[in-house]
Amino acid sequence: MRHFLVMTLFALLSATVFGVVAKESPRDRFLYGIKVFAEFMIIGLALAWILYFIPF
């Protein structure tokens, strides 16, 4: 559980900075931030499941 929370915090902080820095309008920033956050989480979980099945 702790690992998941740390990953979530990491994704949240990175997505915040990426969203604010990359786009101009508040709406675009919010949407881009959400998109980056979702990408971090989905890719992180996908990699975790892939590595779970690798025995070494």
Binding site: R2, V6, L9, E24
Partner: protein, 144 residues
């Protein structure tokens, strides 16, 4: 006609104020935006970097520096992560001065959150480089 074309192509000079804002942003995360009156941006961007750095330290993360016991290739391998850590500006320098997060302690390395902490500290520096560039661009008039 040709002179006009040449004039159009000449790149705009970057105002010295932009360099100062960039330097302030690097030195103290969020300060570059704060000095320009972008309070909200300073709070969000600077806050994200500060939280990332403090969480990294609380997790027992390790920061990198050149000039330790390492020699040869091992010393060279310390340079890229040190550049990432250095992005935190004064936070990195203060930690180095007070020797917080620099000790090669096997007990600290054994903590479950050690690797997470180290990653958070690296990311705090890298994110601050982005924040610094944002402050620079705003001051140079390249961004609203």
């Amino acid at each position: 006609m040709q002179k006009e074309k040449l004039k159009e192509k000449t790149p705009e000079e970057t105002p010295s104020r932009a360099w100062a804002m960039g330097a302030a942003g690097w030195l103290l995360p969020g300060a570059g935006h704060l000095l320009q009156g972008h309070w909200g941006r300073a709070l969000i961007l600077g806050g994200a970097v500060w939280i990332c750095f403090v969480c990294g330290l609380m997790m027992g993360g390790h920061m990198f520096s050149v000039g330790g016991e390492q020699q040869g290739i091992s010393a060279l391998l310390q340079i890229p992560p040190m550049i990432a850590n250095l992005g935190s500006g004064l936070l990195y320098l203060a930690s180095w001065f007070f020797d917080v997060g620099f000790a090669d302690d096997p007990q600290a390395a054994a903590r479950a959150t050690y690797e997470y902490g180290t990653t958070f500290l690296l990311i705090a520096g890298l994110l601050n480089y982005l924040v610094m560039l944002d402050a620079f661009d705003i001051s140079a008039g390249r961004k609203a």
